[in-house]
Symmetry: C2
Subunit: 305 residues, 2 copies
């Protein structure tokens, strides 16, 4: 398989509402890019194929394609369902072999992972986690999800872990809130601190809650509890917080302060040469994390080939 | 470095009250073994050296020594303090270069890790986690600690993670209990479910609490919350529960039942081909895990060169 320094790789960010296709060098420039709305599988995947046909004509063979996909998607390599969309309410998409279709369309080998793991890969190598082998990337939005990297490798276990269902202590002052998690009500972080939880608790979305609103104190405290549990489980060098809710920049200082309060002297960060400012950080690549990470995934796959 | 299939490796289980030394083949028979009380560093490490001198005379060169040590001990390879005991109330042991002393005494290269990580290595390769790349080994005793293996490798992050300080929801019926964690009171699992927590709450130790005592229902529920959080973070194939409190065999069925209740339908284990009986399991090597794991650590170190 071609692996010259000038190989071009493909990236597909397969989102629930939008697809982004790109061609470029991992960590470097893009030579082509396109985005379009997610419609039916046939139509959407045909547009992906069209993109790569044109890309091949203009730029030559594609070494490999990396795909970051909306979920649920089977991402365990070697599993019979690898590369297929799992049970989903999204009409027509259930069971679609998104990996196979894209690979055939691009005439190139392809690898797939969840959108959050691909964003993690992008941020860990070229963004807020650059230089670190142990990184967690958390998105706080409609749901709460995370990708985990330990020893430089993404952690899967037997399933793609979904940190949103982590159980955390409820705050006494929040006793009246029932939580919004369909499985765990107010016991898990998604039930307490996702975008819908904020909306349900305060009657308005995160984007309309003023910075001085007391809700942010609660929000910071819950996110800090999540950080505590990630720290005591795998001691990542970076906890990168992204997603819609984290667009509120003032949240980061609050989360760091709550984290100190919750730890209460446990974990002497200074002794490890770690500042809180570099431990809990915003995503740095923003909307680019998916494409940057997908190119990395493609290269990893080609070079492990 | 010698790495023939017949190489003999050394193992040292450096406990706070007892040292165990052994010589043998990883995963196989021991040709020599000795144990003695932990006293002063000079005396204790001299006995370790004596053991290996005699072992060399009888059995030839030792390829490498693996050490599982009481803590806190610096286990990050390459760090300037690697192999030294950190701040400890144990008289005379603070700052002792346990790795260097044992390596010189055995005339062999040596590697060190925490006692819990070494036990994890033993259980993951030859015990309750055999065949699995993603394993957590939890000890529930005077404290609650854990070793985490992801993708076949032990997870360190920037520090040795101490899962005992994981924050979990408190049970309503347990509201009156203040917890015993010096840092987190009743917010972390060690404060709520360690041996001392049981003693403080019920006025007697775990070993005296009859199986029908309501305390075990609470205990199972808290341990199940810990399991939930480990599952959503790294989805291990095995959660191995060991340590003094887990000597109560009836606890396992209760923890599995509470785990199902807490998950409330989230995580379809059957779809992953996983039975709860093989997910949450007792340690299998018992008192042997330390020596078995230390031999593995020694071999890993020697073969990684």
């Amino acid at each position: 398989m071609s692996n010259s320094p000038h190989s071009l790789y493909g990236a597909v960010e397969a989102g629930g509402t939008k697809f982004v296709c790109a061609l470029g060098e991992p960590g470097g420039r893009l030579v082509a890019e396109a985005s379009f709305a997610t419609t039916t599988p046939d139509e959407t995947l045909a547009r992906v194929a069209d993109f790569f046909v044109e890309a091949r004509v203009r730029h030559g063979a594609v070494a490999a394609v990396g795909i970051g996909s909306f979920g649920p998607v089977h991402v365990r390599r070697g599993a019979p369902q690898y590369g297929r969309i799992a049970r989903t309410p999204k009409p027509g998409w259930e069971g679609v072999d998104i990996l196979g279709e894209i690979s055939r369309g691009a005439c190139a080998p392809a690898a797939i992972d969840t959108d959050v793991n691909v964003a993690l890969l992008g941020e860990a190598r070229h963004g807020a986690g650059a230089g670190c082998d142990d990184v967690v990337y958390v998105t706080v939005g409609t749901g709460i999800g995370a990708g985990l990297m330990a020893n430089g490798r993404i952690v899967y276990g037997f399933a793609h872990p979904e940190v949103g269902h982590m159980h955390v202590p409820k705050l006494a002052e929040d006793a009246a809130f029932a939580g919004v998690c369909a499985f765990h009500g107010d016991r898990c972080i998604e039930g307490l601190a996702s975008g819908p939880a904020l909306r349900e608790r305060w009657g308005t979305g995160a984007e309309n809650l003023p910075p001085e609103h007391h809700g942010w104190t609660l929000q910071a405290r819950y996110l800090a509890a999540l950080c505590v549990n990630l720290l005591v489980t795998c001691a990542p060098r970076r906890i990168i917080l992204g997603g819609g809710v984290m667009m509120q920049a003032h949240l980061f200082a609050r989360v760091r302060m709550s984290l100190c309060e919750l730890l209460n002297g446990y974990l002497d960060f200074a002794a490890y040469g770690i500042g809180l400012d570099e431990l809990v950080v915003p995503a740095r690549l923003g909307g680019r994390a998916g494409v940057v990470g997908a190119l990395e995934l493609a290269r990893d796959f080609a070079t492990a080939g």
